[in-house]
């Protein structure tokens, strides 16, 4: 049975069970009963949002280093040193290059830059790297999480396979909560733009509580998560 036929049969049957005529576009959503999700934390200034973000990230066992843009390279180097240096993998992200982080790390450590040209080698390198460095689209104040979009130059594995994950982001990019990220993506969809194939919201290192509810860090993903937060306010 082809897809069209199968789908039509399934949905026609469903509509019949629902006791209505089949419809192809949903009714408009009713006015939401309240606006807490979109208004929550929006009364805070950007500085206060960042404070929330940092405080809660620390609760989530993230190591946070805040520095002015002028110190970002030395901070990146000292963080890599602190977490054992060795092999590093970075996204080919112009924001990391513009800051000078990519070049500085390349000089000091064996580095691989994730690139569409290097294919499977990207994953092999990410698997063996000690540290992965990425640049985040946003931080989320409520949950202390960060947001990553995948792209050909920005692999999903860079923040996933290395044992330690360093995330660079700017204070000005900290949003109150997921609602604001959802709005950005909704607006993109309204303009018929393609979503990134993968949007990751990551709050803290990989963890589990499956054995006696005791929290253990690093079951599959990175064991350590580090934010390098640029103070650009």
């Amino acid at each position: 049975m082809d897809f069209q036929h199968n789908r039509e049969q399934f949905l026609n049957r469903l509509a019949a069970k629902m006791g209505k005529a089949r419809s192809f576009s949903p009714q408009a959503m009713e006015e939401p009963l309240n606006r807490y999700p979109t208004e929550r934390l929006t009364e805070l200034s950007q500085a206060q949002l960042c404070e929330e973000f940092v405080n809660f990230a620390k609760v989530m066992m993230v190591d946070v280093k805040v520095c002015p843009e002028s110190d970002v390279v030395s901070s990146a180097l000292s963080l890599c040193e602190k977490y054992g240096g060795n092999s590093v993998i970075l996204n080919d992200d112009e924001r990391l290059t513009r800051l000078g982080i990519t070049q500085a790390l390349q000089e000091k450590y064996p580095c691989h830059i994730w690139s569409p040209k290097t294919g499977q080698q990207n994953i092999d390198k990410a698997e063996k790297a000690n540290i992965g460095v990425v640049y985040a689209e946003y931080g989320l104040a409520e949950s202390g999480g960060i947001v990553l979009y995948s792209q050909p130059e920005r692999g999903r594995a860079v923040s996933l396979l290395p044992e330690k994950s360093i995330v660079v982001l700017r204070k000005s990019q900290v949003l109150p909560r997921v609602a604001q990220l959802a709005k950005v993506l909704h607006d993109k969809a309204q303009k018929s733009e393609r979503m990134p194939s993968c949007v990751n919201i990551i709050s803290g290192p990989s963890s589990t509580a499956d054995i006696e509810l005791i929290k253990v860090v690093g079951v599959h993903g990175p064991v350590a998560k580090i934010y390098l937060l640029i103070d650009d306010l």
Partner: protein, 470 residues
């Protein structure tokens, strides 16, 4: 595995579970710990009741427009280069996934925790083709190596303690390390890493699909879902057909309610929103993406007086508050969906013949109603099952007898009065150390699982009369 997790009769299962000290201690601890964390997060969020109203509104809107949203979702998945399959039955779903696995010549599949794939019995079907299927959520992995079944929808191995887990790891995988959660977790991490790298297919569930964009939103704490959808060349997501949200904006509300209700967290560690297969030039992420949309009885539920249960977002909060679950644990229910949500949906998905006892594993205390983030009136729905079974003459025999007796006494005030006075005096003589020496029917089952208070020989009516005259 499929919906049913035990061939034992309900009574035998319960007898077994109430004597399982390890399980009972673990469940009490889980209810208390998760319950306290949940409350903290509810207070921190503020306006909790209004958030619940909103979550209910969103889920109701989706259910009212389900055919249209599923159409929109499937159009968008295809537009993004993915494939969609609509499966009316569990068999259609598993056959489709098996076909893909055959086409891909798959030898190894990594799975991220998913209730709907348990429900349709997917692993067993794939294993018939000699495909190695590896559950990668730590709890599910531990159950898989020991041939055990999940007992909770969020923390599946909650019934096991570290000694049992150490023993399983040693016997099945030769683990020689310490009996600490840290060492055992590290052992599993190393063990599964290679599997992720070698797997041909990653299979996941779907917490919420987004109709507007054709995306699937998945939440985990461990990051295993990220690995399962980043490394293998094919990703198959399996969703119960009601798990939909119109846009990411509603997903925000639902994942907020889910994380806070399920584990008492502001947000789950990893929220991964996937749209189609990888884009041109991308090195990781699947080349091929399939979304399998499963009915398996859900459209019948939607057409019934139980339709409110389809608002469920599988947070497990109702399990964490239920006094019956506290006593008999997940395995007592004999279904992959235990607790109050299980007592409602297991009979709907699996039929009264198989699950007629579950609506009776409930004291109708309504604690579940008060925690459910999408305001499902679970206790009322459980009661509705009982009414329906009465109408169909499907009650367990003891229940029939006690209801007959109750109805007779209730309609004969003199009998009632003598009965309660005698009962109060009798109980005063009989209860020793919280246990009644006679073990009859419901009373017997009840006292096995908990201690009775010592009666002072006075009936409630007598006590009330005296109190009224003071």
């Amino acid at each position: 595995m499929s919906l049913k997790t035990s061939n034992l009769a309900f009574k035998e299962r319960v007898n077994h579970e109430v004597n399982n000290e390890i399980m009972r201690k673990a469940v009490v601890k889980a209810q208390e710990t998760i319950g306290a964390n949940r409350q903290k997060m509810v207070d921190e969020l503020g306006h909790w009741e209004e958030w619940r109203d909103l979550a209910k509104q969103i889920r109701n809107h989706v259910l009212q427009n389900l055919d249209a949203y599923l159409y929109q979702l499937s159009e968008n998945v295809i537009k993004n280069g993915g494939h969609v399959f609509f499966a009316e039955t569990a068999e259609e779903a598993t056959n489709y996934i098996r076909r893909i696995a055959r086409e891909k010549n798959a030898k190894k599949i990594v799975k991220s925790k998913s209730m709907v794939t348990e429900e349709i019995g997917l692993n067993a079907v794939l294993e018939q083709d000699n495909i190695q299927v590896i559950e990668t959520d730590l709890g599910e992995y531990l159950l898989q190596i020991s041939g055990d079944k999940p007992s909770h929808i969020v923390v599946p191995a909650i019934h096991k303690d570290r000694h049992q887990i150490r023993k399983d790891l040693h016997e099945k995988l030769g683990y020689e390390g310490a009996e600490t959660p840290e060492d055992m977790t590290l052992f599993v991490r190393k063990k599964i890493r290679q599997d992720f790298l070698e797997a041909d297919i990653g299979i996941s569930g779907c917490n919420f699909a987004v109709a507007e964009t054709g995306s699937v939103c998945l939440v985990t704490n461990e990051g295993n879902l990220r690995l399962a959808t980043t490394l293998p060349k094919t990703h198959i997501a399996v969703m119960g057909m009601e798990r939909l949200a119109p846009t990411f904006q509603e997903v925000d509300v639902l994942i907020t309610m889910l994380a806070r209700s399920a584990v008492g967290a502001k947000l789950t560690g990893y929220n991964t929103w996937l749209t189609g297969p990888r884009l041109e030039g991308e090195t990781d992420g699947p080349e091929d993406f399939h979304l399998v949309i499963v009915d398996n009885g859900r459209s019948d539920i939607l057409a019934s007086e139980f339709k409110e249960v389809l608002r469920c977002i599988r947070c497990g909060a109702c399990l964490n508050t239920c006094p019956a679950y506290r006593q008999i644990g997940g395995h007592g229910y004999g279904s992959i969906y235990p607790g109050p949500i299980g007592a409602v949906i297991s009979p709907l998905l699996g039929g009264y013949e198989e699950f007629k006892d579950l609506p009776y594993a409930c004291s109708l205390c309504t604690a579940c109603n008060s925690v459910c983030p999408v305001r499902i009136p679970l206790a009322q729905l459980i009661n509705k099952h009982r009414e329906k079974m009465v109408a169909q003459n499907l009650r367990p025999p003891l229940e029939k007898l006690s209801i007959l007796g109750f109805n007779f006494a209730n309609s004969h005030p003199a009998v009632w009065k003598v009965g309660v006075n005698m009962g109060a005096k009798l109980m005063n003589k009989l209860i020793k150390d919280g246990k009644a020496p006679i073990s009859v029917g419901a009373l017997g089952e009840w006292t096995k699982a908990r201690n009775l208070p010592q009666s002072d020989g006075e009936s409630f009516r007598d006590w009330f009369k005296k109190r009224g005259s003071n």
